[in-house]
Every structure is written in structure tokens, then in C-alpha cells.
């Protein structure tokens, strides 16, 4: 477990320092002037933090700046980090096992957010940690979704309950739970079809999956994860809001952060809805799905020298 943590830390810091380097670069050693506040604002908007979060962080930095005229620029970075860390406090989610196996994990999201890929990657991670996993292909709508998951499962040596195109997703989930139980699996991962959150009929189909699972196990699904595309903007918050209201989420996974996207919408999702973050998708390989760490995320965005920041209080 410890080895895994180290691997994650290396992975994230390597990737994110490259990603977020541009923001850190704003804080040289000079004084914080109106221009650097401007560029800080730009950078925060540029990371998709959204209007509300950006304004709050800027507000706090400006207040500190007013209090102490001599504030060095890199202290502003530390203030930014402090504010962000406070905002994100408690936002790390874990795939804790349920009291009695299988622990049911369901992945939801809009079209193209990366649910199928994330399902395979989570399965791989759990299996690497020594748990047994069964994946259920409940995307019975998109053409060839089942084949996509099947290819992943063959690659990663994961067990799969496949489905027919057009089959009833809830029925597949029902059968998959039984299979997971009888095969003594620790985790059941359910991949669902992508759906836009404003389609009421498709959202009702999800409710049916939940109802059917609860016939087996009243506590299922134990983890309901919204898979959100990290390159999307503020609409991710609306997506999370509606999925949460219609289905009840336990957290999110933010994918596709290996580009130059910064996934700042996760901050908005946590602030507004209190939904924590399970994973960040930092690349295409199976091991690139990493557990979310507030410290690493904040440090990546506001790379501060902690000693100096503390001494200046």
C-alpha cells in the first residue's frame, strides 16, 4: 500500500508540475502588483475554476495584500494555496469496501466523459491491490460499447459480464450482482451508458438500475461515481448537480487531465455539492488513473515554498 502511494505521488507530481507550471511561474520574487493579480485571475479562470471560486481566492489574496503592503509575491501564492486547501478540505474519497461483498461501484456520466475506460482502469487498480473484481457492461445503448470494454478486460485480465446491444441495463446489473456474489468477488464495477443530465427519461433508467440492485442489497451501490471530463468547463457542475439529485452520487472522477486542462471544475463541484473526488485520470495507460490528493493538487497549482510562507505568517 505504501509503495503504491509513493508511485502515485511521483506520478502526479511529475505530471502536474508540468501541467500547472505556468501558474507557478507567475510568482517570482518581486512584489505583488495589480498586474500579477490580473495574471493570477487569468490563470484561475484559465484552469476552469469558475467565477465564484476565482473571485473568492482573488478576494482573499487582495485582502492580505492590503493588510501588508510589503507582501512578497510568492506569499500570494501561499495564500492562494491556503485558500484552495481550505476549500478542498475533506475532498479525498476512497473506494472503501462494503460490510459484505461485493462492494458495488457504479460509474455514471454524460456521453464521452470516459466511463468505460475509467471502469477498466479502476478494475485494474483494485486487482493490483489484491481485490477480486467483476465488471458489468451496462452500456447497452452505444454501438460497440460492449466490445470496447471487452477489449480492455482482455488486455488487463479482468472478468466481465457482457451484454447485448439494446438489452435492459438494469437486468444486466441484476444478473451481474448475482454473478459477483456467487463467484465471491470483492468488487462489482458497473459501467453505464453515457447520458446528458437534462434527459429526464434516461435519468429514470438509472433510477431503475438502483432499484434493481437494491433488491439484492439495500446498501447498493456503495459508490456512485460521476465520471467528468476534465476539459469541460462549468457545465460539469451542472452535470454533477443533476446526477446527484436524480441518482445520489458519492463522488466524482475527473478524466483527461493529461493534456493542458486543469480540471478546476472539481473545485466548484466540491464547494457547491460537497461531492469528493475519487480519482484523477492523468493518462491513457491503465496505471495513469490516480487517487486524488488535495495536497498534490494544491501544490501543483500554487507551488509555494512552505518554510518562507510560514515564517511570514
Amino acid at each position: 500500500m505504501l509503495g503504491l502511494y509513493r508511485k502515485f505521488k511521483e506520478g502526479l507530481s511529475k505530471t502536474t508540475s508540468r501541467l500547472f507550471g505556468s501558474i507557478g511561474g507567475l510568482f517570482g520574487g518581486g512584489e505583488l502588483d495589480a498586474d500579477s493579480v490580473d495574471s493570477l485571475e487569468e490563470a484561475l479562470y484559465g484552469a476552469d475554476f469558475g467565477v465564484q471560486t476565482t473571485e473568492e481566492i482573488i478576494g482573499e489574496i487582495q485582502e492580505a495584500f492590503r493588510r501588508e503592503k510589503e507582501l512578497r509575491a510568492r506569499d500570494a501564492s501561499a495564500i492562494g494555496g491556503t485558500v484552495l486547501r481550505r476549500v478542498l478540505k475533506g475532498s479525498e474519497a476512497e473506494l472503501l469496501p462494503a460490510a459484505s461483498p461485493p462492494t458495488v461501484v457504479i460509474l455514471l456520466g454524460v456521453n464521452g466523459s470516459g466511463k468505460t475506460t475509467t471502469a477498466a482502469k479502476i478494475g485494474y487498480r483494485l486487482q493490483e491491490e489484491g481485490s477480486s473484481v467483476l465488471i458489468a457492461a451496462c452500456d447497452t445503448f452505444r454501438a460497440a460499447a460492449n466490445e470496447q470494454l471487452k477489449t480492455w478486460c482482455e488486455r488487463l485480465d479482468l472478468e466481465l459480464i457482457s451484454s447485448q446491444h439494446g438489452a435492459d441495463a438494469a437486468a444486466v446489473a441484476f444478473d451481474a450482482w448475482q454473478a459477483a456474489r456467487s463467484r465471491g468477488k470483492d468488487y462489482l464495477l458497473i459501467d453505464t451508458a453515457g447520458r446528458l443530465h437534462n434527459k429526464a427519461n434516461l435519468m429514470r433508467e438509472l433510477a431503475k438500475i438502483r432499484r434493481v440492485l437494491q433488491k439484492h442489497e439495500p446498501g447498493a451501490p456503495h459508490h456512485a461515481i460521476l465520471v467528468a471530463d476534465g476539459s469541460l468547463g462549468s457545465n460539469s457542475i451542472e452535470q454533477a448537480r443533476v446526477f446527484h439529485r436524480e441518482f445520489g452520487l458519492t463522488g466524482v472522477a475527473v478524466t483527461k487531465l493529461d493534456g493542458t486542462s486543469r480540471g478546476g471544475a472539481l473545485v466548484g463541484i466540491y464547494r457547491e455539492l460537497g461531492l469528493p473526488v475519487y480519482f484523477l485520470g492523468l493518462g491513457e495507460r491503465a496505471e495513469d488513473l490516480q487517487p486524488f490528493s488535495v495536497d498534490n493538487y494544491v501544490n501543483a497549482i500554487f507551488p509555494a515554498e512552505p518554510a518562507e510562507a510560514e515564517s511570514r505568517g
Partner: protein, 452 residues
């Protein structure tokens, strides 16, 4: 719950009176509101800055009109400017035969689906499309395209054993000749704009097939990243157009403005749903209203027009005019309203309104009314006066409702008919005219075409 931009601007400009002038000073607060509106629609911050400067220049010095509020006036200026910017450039596909089109974009933006949709779209325009699967990276992507092609009876070509995409492209062109296809659509793999190896792959494909159109497929919910995506793809493969996808969602779609403003590449198409037919040419005016958070009202009206059978509607209007309206007609009407979809899905088309929960109750009431009418004999439907106590009892049993439900429906129906009768005379005509006058003076939204 959700204040429109017009309201906000009216508020910030409330001190202005007709005859005054818009100046930089009295506009400052209003422009801040516009900035927030654009930023929360995910327009890139640099694009927002430029846009605000331009609007400022446009507004400054203009006389405040007496007929509309300053807020409305400013919204109109912004809306017009936005529409102009979004609509600039050639929005049509190159008029060529054969027409070669390459689709590129990020993962999950909707390339494969858009390829099939565009194929169907061109098929309707008398082209013979060939869909070519060039995504050799995502598992089963080629299967997905083949399945979609089969569903729509479109020709399909790919080579699953090929490791070189430009080989597939070259062979596809030969295939197209053999099969007399004159619109060849290349679906490529999703890739990050900074993944050099994969970008090299589409550059090679572009060089091999010499496409007439290179379309960037972009999710309308894209955030600030949209600018980097569009710029990099444009640098690599010289885009000729953009396809905005998932516009049936409720994202405000600021990405469209960002990409257009930064690259100048025209936006050509919009994906508006999961079905292959849900694909249309791009409407800048609708996109502008959407980005400003005013809702895509025109699409809503169009949806209503599509769902309601024009002939039926005219027949109904005639019947209403003559007050010759029976329960059979009532049933037809209910069914037309049902076809529009649940109230929820309609409200969902308005930004910020997807949270509104209505509809289930209404929908079940429609279903009950339908059941009651369907439990009547045709004679009873045409002549509701026949319905005595025992008939009503039978209908309630047959439809699984109570007699009181049947009574309520009949009462409603009688009232409706009474109202129609009263519209027949002179008094009715007067009423209609005043109604029309009210509708004609729709307030609030500037420049709304097509509302009839």
C-alpha cells in the same frame, strides 16, 4: 432562481433615461455583468476581454432609446455583435464532388457519432457517402462506426489489421471509386492536441487523402481548454470548419465563441441529440442567445412545430372555430401535446432550467385522460351527452379510474366547448384580436426571429 442578463443589465443601467447617452462610465457596471455572464458560459477570458472592448466601443456614444429599456438596448447590441462574430465565414461545406471530409478532435467529443450523422446528412443531399474508420487506437471504435453505418444503410470501409492510418486512407479512396461514393468521411481517433505522435498521424493522413474539409469536432461544454484545442489542431491540420456537439445538453457553449474568435475557423454544424438525424447546420443567432443565457427559444419552437402535424392542427383550428369539438378531437389534441415530450425535457432545453422539476404529475394526468376516453365507444366520444350514470360507471371500470375522474374530465370538456362557442360571435372576435395584440408586443427579448 435565475435572473436573465436583460434583468441584470436593466438593473445596472436603471439610472439612464431615454435621450441620455451610453458612456464608458455608466456602462462600467453593466459591462462587468456581461463579463461575468460570458465567463460563466466558459468563454475564454482573453476572448471575453476583447469582446468587452469591442462592445464598449460599439455602445459608447449611442443615444439611449426611449422605446426600450437601456438594459434591453445593450443586450441587443451584445447579441448582435455575438451573432455576427459566431456567424462569420463560410458556413457551408465545399461544393465538390467527390467531397473528402476528415473529422478530428479530442477523446469523447463525438467524432464517430458525428461522422455517421454527417454521412446521413450528405446522403439526404444526393451524395453517396462512404464512412471510413481510421480510429485504430480506441478499442472497438471501428466496430462502433460500422454498426452505425449499417443502421443507416451507409457504405463503410476500414482495415482492422492496418497499423498505418494513411494506408487506410489511401485504400479508402480506391474503394470509393469502385463503389461510386462521392462523399468520403474519415473518422479519426481521439487525441490530445499536444500528443505529437498522434498529431503526426493525422498530418500524414491529411497529406495522403488531401481532404476538402477538415472538421474539428468539439464538445459544446468544453471549458477554457477549447482555445488550446482549436489552435493546436488548426496549426497541425488547417481546419476548415468546426462541429459543435452535444448541444442538446444545457451547457451554455461559450467554447464556440472562444474557438471561433481565436482561430477564425467557421462553425459549420451542430449535433443536437443521440439519434443519427439529430444534426443540423449551425445557427449563430441561437448560439448567441444561448451563450448569453437567454435560452434557445427558437429551437424550442421548432421542436414544437416538428412534433405537431400541421394538417391536424389546421383541422383542429377549424373545428374549434365552429365549436364542433368532440371527445375524439380532445384525444387527438392530448396526443399531440404528448408527442412534444414531457415538460421536463422541454424545460431542459433552457439553460439553468434543467433543475426544474415538473412534468411527472402532468404526464400521468394525460395518461389517465387518454385511458378514460379510450374506454368510451366511438359513439360516446362523438356525443358525450349519451353518457349517463351507468355508462360512466362502465368507463371508470374500464379505464381503472373512479367515476369522479370521469365526471371531472367531462366537466372540463364541457367548459372548453362553452368557451369555444362564446368565441364564435362578435365578442369572440374582439377577444381574439386583443389576444393577438398582446402576443405581438412580446417584451423582453430582442431580435427573436421566427416567433409567430
Amino acid at each position: 432562481m435565475f435572473e436573465s442578463l436583460t434583468d441584470k443589465l436593466s438593473n445596472t443601467l436603471r439610472n439612464l433615461r431615454g435621450g441620455g447617452r451610453l458612456t464608458e462610465d455608466n456602462m462600467a457596471e453593466a459591462l462587468k455583468e456581461v463579463r461575468t455572464a460570458l465567463l460563466s458560459a466558459d468563454v475564454h477570458f482573453k476572448v471575453v476581454r476583447d469582446f468587452i472592448d469591442r462592445v464598449k466601443a460599439e455602445c459608447t456614444g449611442q443615444e439611449v432609446l426611449k422605446s426600450v429599456s437601456p438594459g434591453q438596448q445593450v443586450v441587443k447590441i451584445i447579441n448582435d455583435e455575438l451573432t455576427r462574430l459566431l456567424g462569420e465565414g463560410a458556413n457551408e461545406l465545399a461544393a465538390k464532388r467527390p467531397l473528402k471530409i476528415m473529422l478530428v478532435g479530442l477523446h469523447g467529443s463525438g467524432k464517430t457519432t458525428s461522422t455517421a450523422k454527417l454521412g446521413l446528412f450528405l446522403g439526404k443531399k444526393e451524395y453517396t457517402p462512404l464512412l471510413v474508420g481510421c480510429d485504430i487506437h480506441r478499442p472497438a471504435a471501428i466496430d462502433q462506426l460500422e454498426t452505425l453505418a449499417q443502421q443507416e444503410s451507409l457504405a463503410f470501409y476500414s482495415d482492422r489489421s492496418a497499423r498505418d492510418v494513411s494506408r487506410i486512407g489511401k485504400d479508402a479512396l480506391k474503394q470509393a471509386k469502385q463503389r461510386n461514393a462521392d462523399a468520403i468521411l474519415f473518422d479519426t481517433a481521439g487525441r490530445l492536441q499536444i500528443d505529437e505522435e498522434l498529431i503526426e498521424e493525422i498530418k500524414k493522413l491529411r497529406a495522403e487523402v488531401q481532404p476538402d474539409e477538415v472538421l474539428l469536432v468539439a464538445d459544446s461544454a468544453l471549458g477554457q481548454e477549447a482555445v488550446n484545442v482549436a489552435r493546436h489542431f488548426h496549426d497541425a491540420v488547417q481546419l476548415t470548419g468546426i462541429v459543435m456537439t452535444k448541444l442538446d445538453g444545457d451547457a451554455r457553449g461559450g467554447a464556440a465563441l472562444s474557438m471561433k474568435a481565436i482561430t477564425g475557423v467557421p462553425i459549420k454544424f451542430a449535433g443536437t441529440g443521440e439519434k443519427p438525424g439529430d444534426f443540423e447546420t449551425f445557427h449563430p443567432d441561437r448560439m448567441a442567445s444561448r451563450i448569453l443565457g437567454m435560452g434557445d427559444v427558437v429551437s424550442l419552437v421548432e421542436k414544437a412545430q416538428e412534433s405537431i402535424d400541421q394538417d391536424e392542427a389546421e383541422k383542429m383550428a377549424e373545428k374549434m372555430r365552429k365549436a364542433d369539438f368532440n371527445l375524439e378531437d380532445f384525444l387527438t389534441q392530448i396526443r399531440q401535446v404528448k408527442k412534444l415530450g414531457s415538460m421536463e425535457s422541454i424545460m431542459g432545453m433552457l439553460p439553468g432550467m434543467s433543475g426544474v422539476k415538473i412534468g411527472d404529475k402532468e404526464t400521468s394526468r394525460f395518461a389517465r385522460t387518454e385511458a378514460i376516453i379510450l374506454s368510451m365507444t366511438p359513439r360516446e366520444r362523438q356525443n358525450p351527452n349519451l353518457l349517463n350514470g351507468s355508462r360512466r360507471m362502465r368507463i371508470a371500470k374500464g379505464s381503472g379510474t373512479r367515476v369522479s375522474d370521469v365526471n371531472q374530465l367531462l366537466k372540463q370538456f364541457t367548459q372548453m366547448r362553452k368557451m369555444m362557442k362564446s368565441m364564435k360571435g362578435k365578442k369572440g372576435k374582439k377577444m381574439m384580436r386583443s389576444l393577438q395584440a398582446q402576443m405581438g408586443e412580446g417584451k423582453g427579448m430582442p431580435n427573436l426571429p421566427g416567433m409567430r
